[in-house]
Symmetry: C2
Subunit: 161 residues, 2 copies
Amino acid sequence: MRTVFWLAASLCPVLLPACQPPGEPGAPAADVAAEAQAIRDVNAQWLAAVSARDAAATAAIYLPEGRLMPPNAVSALGSAAIAEFYRGIFELPNLSVSWTQDLVEVAESGTLAYDVGPYSLAYDGPSGRVEDRGKYLVVWKKVNGQWRVAAESFNSDLPLQ
Amino acid sequence: MRTVFWLAASLCPVLLPACQPPGEPGAPAADVAAEAQAIRDVNAQWLAAVSARDAAATAAIYLPEGRLMPPNAVSALGSAAIAEFYRGIFELPNLSVSWTQDLVEVAESGTLAYDVGPYSLAYDGPSGRVEDRGKYLVVWKKVNGQWRVAAESFNSDLPLQ
C-alpha cells in the first residue's frame, strides 16, 4: 500500500497539476499576499484616474455590472451610471479627493477580496470650502485575471449638521 | 504513458481526496449555493436579534474584530463597540428596522462572501416620525465553520435635507 501511495504521489505533480497532499482539503491556496498587492496596484490606478478627472478610466476600475453605493443618492449600477456619477464629482470646484487602504483581505481562492480605509474629500462650495472625511468598504472580484470593483459603499464620519 | 495516467487517476480518489482532474486548476470549489444559504440563515438570526432588541446577540453576528461603519459616525470596531452601537439604536422610540438580501455572492473557496440589499429604518423623532431608506454592503467571513460579518457599510438613498 505504501508503494502504491508513493507511486500516486510521485505521479501527481506530473499528471495532475492541481493535486493536493492527502489530508489537506480545499484549494491550492492562491498567493493572497501577491493578490493583495495586485489590488493595491489597481487601487493606485484608480487614484490616478480620479486625479486625472477621467470618468471613463475611473469607471473602468469597476466591473461592467459594478455597484457604486454613495451616501444620500441611489446606487449607480453599471459602467455608464458609474461614469456619470464621477463626471458629477469631477465638476466640483477645486476638488480634492483621496483615500488609503488600511486593510486588504483576499479569499483563499484568490477570486474575491475586500478593503477598507479612510477617505477625505474637499471642494469649494457656495458658502466656502466643504471638507468631508469618512470610511469606505470595497469588494473586489478577480475576473479574467483582473481585479475589479464589484461593490463600493462609503459614508462620512462627521455628524449631520 | 496512457496506462500510467489511468493508474494515477484511478488511485487519486482513494489516496488523494482533494485531487483535481488535470487541466482544472484551483480549488475543489465549495458548494457556493449551500454557503449562500448558510449566510441567508445567519442573516435571519441577525434580523431576529435586532427584532428582539438584543444588542449582545446582534453583536455576536459580527466577528470579534468586526467593523460596523455607520453614516455620520466613526466605525465601531469589535464586539463591545458594536454592541454599544446597537444599544443606542435600540433606544430609539418605536424603532422599525429591516433589510433584504438582494444578492449574496460567495468566493469559490467558501471562506469570504458579500451581500447587498436595501434597508429601511424608522423611529419617532422629536418632531415626528423619521423614515430612512438606503442600501448596505456586508462582507462575510467563514471562521470556525460559522459565517460572521467582517465589515458592514450602509448609507441613505435620501438627499440631505
